[in-house]
């Protein structure tokens, strides 16, 4: 089955990102397709490569990036939410005259249409938030 995920909260502050990750792993293990993980609201903060959690804790961004690398999962950060919160890729950085970017490998920035498209394309949309 084709499943889309919506993650509405940032890493560490709420369990949403952890729950979504576990769900994605379990769904993939059962042979389902994770069509897309869309990160909205503070969820976009999952996609910064600048995080350095303590060594004895999970690394939420690296887990997502690894999921993209090994399973080709499409990780999309909402551009409007990302702009408000300071997440950008090199293109966005250039366009907004920023001197740095912070997007992590495996993530891409795109519009809200990608969320609506996922809702239409997928058999199920599962939301994780606060």
């Amino acid at each position: 089955m084709k499943i889309g995920l919506l993650v509405n909260e940032g890493p560490y502050q709420h369990q949403a990102a952890d729950s979504a990750y576990r769900f994605a792993c379990a769904a993939l293990a059962k042979g389902h397709e994770i069509f897309r993980v869309f990160f909205y609201h503070d969820g976009v903060n999952n996609g910064t490569r600048l995080m350095t959690p303590p060594q004895d804790d999970r690394h939420i961004q690296q887990r997502w990036s690894e999921l993209a690398r090994t399973h080709g999962v499409d990780l999309v950060l909402c551009v409007a939410a990302a702009q408000r919160r300071g997440i950008c890729d090199p293109d966005e950085a250039k366009r907004n005259a920023k001197d740095a970017d912070n997007i992590a490998p495996g993530f891409r920035i795109s519009g809200l249409g990608q969320l609506v498209e996922a809702a239409i394309e997928c058999d199920r949309l599962v939301t994780f938030g606060d």
């Binding site: 609201h41 409007a80 519009g111 809200l112 249409g113 609506v116 809702a119 239409i120 394309e121 949309l125």
Partner: protein, 136 residues
């Protein structure tokens, strides 16, 4: 995706301004309108506060996004279900809400209210009838 028409509900349950969900939720509705699906909105619990008339954010320095609700009719989002019990608990009546209207193309462009007050049971049935529910 061609030809697919899903029943999509945007279910708003939170007050505006205290958190961003109402505002960013509305942004999804406006973008989603381009996809030509069978769309409705529901305002439940504190979500009914989003439609309160007279919002003025000038003194808090935040963006007042409430005028955007009026644009929904132009985006063909014309069914806004508002839960009666949620209004009652909060001491709100329909007159306390912004008047939201649309022009009905199937009725010689007659202007009609987008707001439909329904009871909790009906909201439950509406949720059940959707293909997708977005919860903001």
């Amino acid at each position: 995706m061609a030809g697919q028409c899903k029943k999509i509900m945007y279910l708003h349950r939170r007050a505006p301004y205290g958190t961003v969900y109402a505002q960013e939720g509305l942004e999804v509705v406006l973008i989603g309108a381009a996809f030509d699906q069978d769309v409705c909105m529901a305002f439940v619990d504190d979500g009914v506060y989003q439609l309160k008339a007279g919002q003025d954010t000038s003194a808090v320095g935040m963006k007042n996004f409430s005028p955007a609700w009026r644009a929904l009719g132009d985006y063909d989002v014309t069914r806004l279900y508002v839960e009666r019990e949620s209004l009652d608990e909060r001491g709100l009546r329909e007159e306390d809400l912004m008047p939201l209207r649309y022009e009905d193309e199937n009725d010689d462009w007659a202007e009609k209210s987008s707001i439909v007050i329904v009871d909790r049971k009906e909201i439950g049935r509406l949720i059940d009838a959707q293909d997708v529910v977005f919860n903001f």
